[in-house]
Amino acid sequence: MKVQEVPKAQVEAAVVATKNISFIYRYFSLTLLLSASNLLYAVVLPEERADAMYHRYDGGGMVIDGPSILVRKNIAEKYSIAANYYIDSVSSASIDVLTSGASEYTEERIESSLDFTYLEDKSLINIGYTTSQENDYEASSFRIDFSQDFFGDMSTLSMGFSQGNDDITQTDNENFSEKLERRHYRIGLAQILTRHLIANINYESIIDEGYLQNPYRFILVNTGTAYNVEAERYPNTRNSDAVSLKLSYHLPWSAAIKSRLGYFTDSWGIKSQSIELDYSQQLNKRWLVDLRIRQYQQGEADFYANAFDIDSALQTFVGRDKELSEYSSFSVGLGASYEWTFNHRIEKARVNFQVDYMLFDYDNFHEVTSETTASFGIGNEPLYSFNAYALRLFFSIWY
């Protein structure tokens, strides 16, 4: 929750696949978060600021990097407009690529979004639109969010809806064309509990209808002497429910400890839990540092298998996406910001660095390549695991 501090005197006077990048979970855009994160916690307009970021992910045979620009401008203390431009430049030789025997590929995704926010008394309304484009996947989404302060501004109720529409094609198949439609319903409550503690509970239901599998990914069918490959077959619908509880506590010095608990379940039989702990401290007027750890674990989907036998491969739905398998991940993150303040049109500027190091351990997804199968024997390949880092280097100004 973004809290506006009110001076006491003022109150007394009157009174916040092989070809892999494309096809799964690009449900809607990064900028939903960018734009709505402020919205859901505030009945004040988001800060007027501009950010320019370089991001880079490296791990599991993939390197994804690129720039992102986010600019927000407020008008007449009642309206706010935000625009984001984001690029993912992908170079992939992931385990799925290696399993298929394909060679490394490169591609690019460009995303842009626009958000308009309107403030009226204790209510905030946000309307946004995002598009994402690749050579074989186009996505667009519309969203509307509303939030309202009440109970002496100690509580903020928020709710929102998103509608996404994706057009899926295949680079090597001109006749392939599929669609995916998605709807999100969300509600949240942020509550000030004490002078040092804020709680935030959120729920979101997501409904997908359409083509949910990856046209580039295949299942493995173990014949006993070799693997055959077949196309994945996913249900055409997926309904999911997620709930999270966040707590932020201000310590006696200029620092805060924050926690987030998350629980997720869906109609494919996947259940997951996550826990995150963050520590942020203002060292002095210029330096702010962050430290965080996070644990995530999930169970497998009903129709997932690392390798199917000949009979089970005949079942209605089959998939071999490692994101549908049982696995856990652990990450640790560090961040630091250095600030300059000015007495001009630009109020302040910051240079920021954030990095997260992640470890992924799969419980029933195996590292199947021609080499591992030859070395260990069919069906005895080692379990897959990998580590990765995600860094962000960005420059921000407030005006």
């Binding site: 449900y27 978060l33 960018l34 996947i270 203002q282 962000r392």
Partner: protein, 74 residues
């Protein structure tokens, strides 16, 4: 039906009790809550990115306090 009536009764009680509870953290006592170290999504451009990275690699999605998002960067 019985459950609905019970639920409505409980909600009614809560509503009545809420009327008697007044906001206990005054605006002038929110200085520490307003400190930016308390914010979960302090830098939207960075926080959005890391959510995006996670959602591309995890089946879980949603309830991040915002819309959610992701791309399938396996």
């Amino acid at each position: 039906m019985k459950k609905i009536i019970t639920l409505l009764f409980i909600l009614q009680l809560l509503a009545l009790s809420a009327c008697s509870v007044k906001p206990w953290v005054k605006p002038y006592h929110r200085a520490k809550l307003a400190n930016e170290v308390m914010q979960y999504d302090r830098d939207p451009i960075s926080d959005g990115y890391i959510h995006h990275v996670r959602q591309a690699r995890e089946s879980a999605r949603g309830a991040e306090g915002a819309g959610g998002g992701g791309c399938g960067c396996n």
